[in-house]
Every structure is written in structure tokens, then in C-alpha cells.
């Protein structure tokens, strides 16, 4: 089963279930990037409140997704990481997760909106000649 992605205005929202297979993580990346690419959204908030394990594979795919979103002109934020998961990731080594983060979904949405605004939004960037 694919993880659903909702769209609220120009922000995509997704809440990860407690347990995700590697394939589901990869499908999520593909789906999110397709939505960003379609131009219907410029931000992505990934809520991982429910996730009780984030291993090196998931950390890599999430960080990679955020980088791709950024290169495409958008912003991705990871929200709501459980303290035990955060501690484990820190112990696993520096830079395990390399992306914007927020305490919860609400904070994540606020951060996306703020960061997109500070970049001037990607659709205003069409050069005028």
C-alpha cells in the first residue's frame, strides 16, 4: 500500500505509518517528487510522529527527497520525530538526517510556508525580458 499524500493549498502533507517497508519509502519519494514537479505544490511536510524506527536507509531516502525537492525549487520539512528515534539517529553518526525539521505537523507547515515565502516562491521567478 502506498502512503497517501494530501495537498493543502500549495503544501503537501503526509503522515508516515509506524512501520514502512523500503519499497513504501521509495514509492513515497517518487509520489512526492511527481506532485512537486507537477507545479501544484512547492512544499512538503513529512510527519514521522508514528515512526518508531528510522534506520540508515530511511534516513537516506528522506534526506535525498528533501534535496531533490530543494533542487526543484521547493522545501521539504520532517516533522514530529520521536525523542528515542532522534537520539538513535544522533548516535548513529553525524548527518544521518540532512533536512529541515520541525517539532510537529503544525510547526512543519509553518516552516514550509515561511521558507517558501523567504525564497520568493518558485513561480515568481520567471525572468522578464
Amino acid at each position: 500500500m502506498r502512503v497517501p499524500i494530501l495537498r493543502l493549498g500549495r503544501v503537501l502533507l503526509t503522515s508516515l505509518p509506524a512501520d514502512l517497508t523500503d519499497q513504501q519509502v521509495m514509492d513515497l519519494q517518487i509520489d512526492a517528487l511527481a506532485l512537486i514537479q507537477s507545479g501544484k505544490a512547492d512544499g512538503l511536510v513529512i510527519d514521522i510522529t508514528a515512526a518508531d524506527v528510522v534506520d540508515s536507509y530511511m534516513a537516506r531516502i528522506l534526506s535525498e527527497t528533501a534535496k531533490m525537492v530543494k533542487i526543484m525549487g521547493g522545501v521539504a520539512v520532517l516533522a514530529g520525530m520521536q525523542p528515542a528515534v532522534a537520539l538513535t539517529l544522533v548516535e548513529m553518526g553525524r548527518d544521518m538526517i540532512d533536512m529541515e525539521t520541525a517539532f510537529d505537523l503544525e510547526g512543519g507547515v509553518a516552516k514550509v510556508v515561511r521558507l517558501v515565502a523567504s525564497r520568493g516562491g518558485r513561480h515568481d521567478e520567471v525572468p522578464t525580458t
Binding site: V53, S56, T88, E91, M92, G93, M96
Partner: protein, 148 residues
Amino acid sequence: MTKSRPPDRPEPAPGATTRALIDIRIQDDILRARQASRTAASAIGFTTVDQTRLATVVSELTRNALVYAGGGVCRVLTRLTVQERSVMIEVEDQGPGIADVTGALTRGFSTGRGLGLGLAAVRKLMDDLVIETCPGRTLVRTGMTRRR
């Protein structure tokens, strides 16, 4: 010596050993193994943080068995004595073996498409890590022990 207060939750008798055995053939088995390690560790009173460390380690090792050896088996052993609680994880496969163990334990070394952070992370999260490997068999054994 005073007798300690009985625990809120029944724990296995001191010295008891529990075993869980999970066949690793498909990605879902990684999730099952993760869950089994968490349940086993929780049953003998490991903290949430330690359960998370263990489940993460099981995730790394069982994925390696699946990706590099096409599958394997994961064993979870727990032991509770008067002084300590301990969990041992063993992941074994019949794959090609790890040609360069020292390299494999180094952060950033990967022959796959990973970042090569898995085994290095296991070593950091656990108390000990032993890798026995040759062509046709790899056994990774790692443990965590806490004083009670």
C-alpha cells in the same frame, strides 16, 4: 539484603532465555524482525530508547542479509539475571560473505547503493559486534547488556 519491590509488570524468571526466530525473505520480514526484537527487549524491561536502538540495529542487519545475500535468518535471544538484562541479535545468511570486513565497518564503505553507514551504526549503538564471514556464510552477532 532487603528484597526488592516486585515489578509492576511480570518479568521472566531470572536467568530465563527467550528466543525469537524470524526468516528473512522479503521486505516485510525486516519489519517483523524489528518488532520481535522490540517485544523481546520490552519483555525484560529495556527502556524505550534501548528498544529503539535494538530495532534500528535489527533493521540494518536484516536488510543487509536481504540485499547482499538474498535473505537469511534473524535470532533474538534475551537473558535476565539478578544483576543484568541482555539482548543478543544474530543475523545469519548463506550469501557471498563480506570480502573486506574492516572496510565494511568503516563509515562510507558500500558495495551496494547504500551510504555504508549501517554496520558502523550497529557498532555505535550496541555494546559489542562480532562478524564471522566466509564465502557461503555470514554471521553477525551483536549484544546489549544493562545493569538492573
